[in-house]
Amino acid sequence: MNELIVAGQYNIGHICTTHQCKSGLKDKTAMRWVSAHHERTDYTFGDLDAASNRFANLLDTLGVLPGDIFFTFLPKMPEQFFAFLGTLKHRTICGTLFSNFGEDALLDRLSDSKATGIITKKSFLRKIKRIWPQLPELRFVILVDIDEHSEENVYSYKQLMDAASAEWTTALTPPETPSVLHYTSGSTGKPKGALHAHRSVLLQNSTTRDVLAVNSNDIYWCTADQGWVTGTSYGIIGPWSLGVTQVHFGGVYDASVWMDLIQTERITVWYTAPTALRMLMRESPELYAPFDLSSLRHISSVGEPLNPEVMVWGEKILGKKIYDTWFQTETGGILIPNRPGTPIRHGSMGKPIDEIEAAILSDDGSQVGVNTHGNLCIKSGWSSMFITYINNQEKYDSRFRDGYYYTGDTAYRDDDGYFWFVGRSDDVINTSGHLVSPFEVESALLELDEIVESGVVGVPDDLLFEKVITYVALRDGITIAPELDLKIKLHISNRLSSIAAPHEVIAIEKIPKNKSGKIMRRVLKAWYLGLDAGDISTMED
């Protein structure tokens, strides 16, 4: 039994706070919060425990029950961490929403999950209010930046927290208890809610220690937003379950500011994304010269494949090795990584962690040989494996065959056991490490009067890995003027999210479809890339 688990208590919120305090870390800094304007505030594990206890009590006061679903919809800020951990202590399921989601994206997720409550900011309330009439189960909203309750069912975080007790005893939480909910995009249909269980802490803890090579003396920085799985698994659960001090920064990308942060805070391990690293790579090498990065042992990366050029740049300009890691929302934690102590093969995903069995399988489920492309699959049963797609067990079941989870990625394994990513086996777009559903974008585009049909594809991009390209068929007499181009981009950015916003909008007469009406995205992609579209015999006339 992992020493992390005492008397069968698997509760993530408890392990990340109360358990750390009981282990003697009450006064250790858990989080150094650096605001966008560079004000610094330290929170000890004792502070984290008390604040999350208050939040658990707050949920009780509002009549929330264990098993209900509660969401955070916040930019990176301390209240998000307190709410997340308090919700888990309460044994309520905590979903997290990317703070740039628009109202369509919010509606899909909040209505599918039948969320009971949400914590957000005053400036985001407008988005909630527009969709609230369509959310009969949503009982209340908590705002972090108002001093007093403002209107019916809109509560002040401050007022509720002031009234809540800092004492809380977390009920015994068995390993299979539902914990964290993250929605993920597929190539068809609405986003799916991947639900995890409290047992995930085992793998998130061990991979933070063994793959990210973080130890209890480290100062660790994870740049991921808490709206995504990396932000919760490795920006909250993994490090705090190890009693590690984290730096969290509330500002936007700025190369000099980031380097200054590493230097000033003496950050020792940094977990970030390939897109961020490629943005840093575009800066002048002279930018890095004044900074003392000697505290930093290494960098790890996740989101999309890390190109070898970035690894070479990291060693040459920063003097640091960069280790690529692979996982998905559904896997809950890192499964195939490069890591310190294991030779890196530039461009490879690395080797599977000891806990899992990874395989390359053909469509009929048979093992394929080395150096042969196939479906990347994981033997069912790893400790951070998701437990269902909520309200869609059929879809969940379809991801498993003969005891293997089919990841949707294609890959191959070389003679020495290294895995190499090849691509997706569906149309999902991976842009800057985030999955975008072409179906969602296509549907949102049809809300615009000017558009009759749409088709959306991802194409390779030097910075983002893939970028979103939109083909539209316009109503008679309408042309794609710059104003309409902007209107389309803003519509997607504000209804779905900035991540899903198209980089290019291309008007064509008709969207290619097969005879059963399915959009032939491979044809659109081939057109964009100037390639042969292949077999188009099934295309409608």
């Binding site: 703070s99 740039n100 628009g102 407008r126 936007v252 104003e483 181009d485 803003l490 916003a501």
Partner: protein, 78 residues
């Protein structure tokens, strides 16, 4: 109408928020939805509104909305 006021109209359109009130000191750190992706749309919206074009790299010199307004003023006057 001064440039900041007109810019505020653009910001409200781009960020779909009619309660936004930008000032000369507003930066990307003050608007939660202002990331590198929305920034691209913001630039296009500003160009269309003021009928100007920004050169590559010009925008990296801008520290806040005030700098942006000054650059717009220069381009309009040129």
């Amino acid at each position: 109408m001064d440039i900041i006021t007109e810019l505020n109209t653009v910001f409200r359109q781009v960020f779909d928020d009619n309660s936004l009130n930008v000032t000369r000191t507003t930066t990307a750190n003050d608007i939660d939805e202002w990331d590198s992706l929305t920034h691209m749309n913001l630039v296009v919206a500003v160009e269309l509104k003021f009928k100007i074009k920004f050169a590559l790299g010009e925008l990296q010199l801008l520290k806040n909305v005030g700098d942006m307004a000054d650059m717009i003023g220069k381009k309009i006057a040129a």
